[in-house]
Symmetry: C2
Amino acid sequence: MPSKGGDPGLELTRYAEGPAGEAWALAMRLFFTSGKPRFVAVGQELDLSPPQGHALRLLHAPRPMGELARMMHCDNSNITGIIDRLEERGLVRRLVAEHDRRVKLIALTEEGERIRERLSRAIAQPPEALEALSPSDQRTLRDILRRAVGE
Amino acid sequence: MPSKGGDPGLELTRYAEGPAGEAWALAMRLFFTSGKPRFVAVGQELDLSPPQGHALRLLHAPRPMGELARMMHCDNSNITGIIDRLEERGLVRRLVAEHDRRVKLIALTEEGERIRERLSRAIAQPPEALEALSPSDQRTLRDILRRAVGE
DNA sequence: CAGCAAAGATTGATGGGATCAAATATCTAG
DNA sequence: CTAGATATTTGATCCCATCAATCTTTGCTG
């Protein structure tokens, strides 16, 4: 079964085993053709690199640097630079935690909150492929994913 | 509804509208907590950066540089370096297209094919959250996503 | 209390990636 | 043949990832 057109899919299903594997392959395809490009595009409009955008999204509540690093699956020292640049732009502030003066809590400024809001809204927009599903399929999809994620 | 634990979710559902939006938010959460980390980890084992891995996966058939660039949503000039490094490692070859000597077709070497195979297999493995679903949910999920992607 | 190991964050070095402008080689139309 | 378009490359600049080393602060232990 050769793929159609320009093969926009990542030829993922070839290696998938079982229904879960196939579903996962299709989901990743959706993400790579829709999700990631949009994330990058929206980030560019707001002049945010993907890691900066990611960090901003995680900051709906103040967090220590180390927690950010863990959540972003990257090294501690990496976060320093990302936060540096966000701080220079006034989107973020470093607060010293009073219970432990080693840790710095990163908090959004008002401007940062505004940008985060816009970013989140744009990213939450589902791709057309999902919007085009029947309402019943949409609900079923949501319900199954809720069960998967354990919500 | 404050999130539980360390808030591994990206607080995505707050901005989602409608079932499709919620489903999308859940899918992205799955991707960010499972998919991307695994992609990066598997890449590290094989000593491939994420873009190198991505490019390799797209090369199940020889492609011109420009086509790779379009598929990876990046600038043409970007691909040059990525392919340079893959070529230095002997995973890839540049072939001059005979119908147009401007274009270079990128083809996997045998070693490249082996690596690509291992990468693809590892990535195709669905996250536990999906494996844990009932077989019926798994099938339904796959079917809905097939409809969405239009397969 | 003194000393010391561990934890949180930063710095510096190195290499890869994104983006943009400019250059090169080739093709195609007229 | 020539002008313009196309595919790729180069160079410059910035950002990100990773690792080792450093600094401060904490908490433990004798």
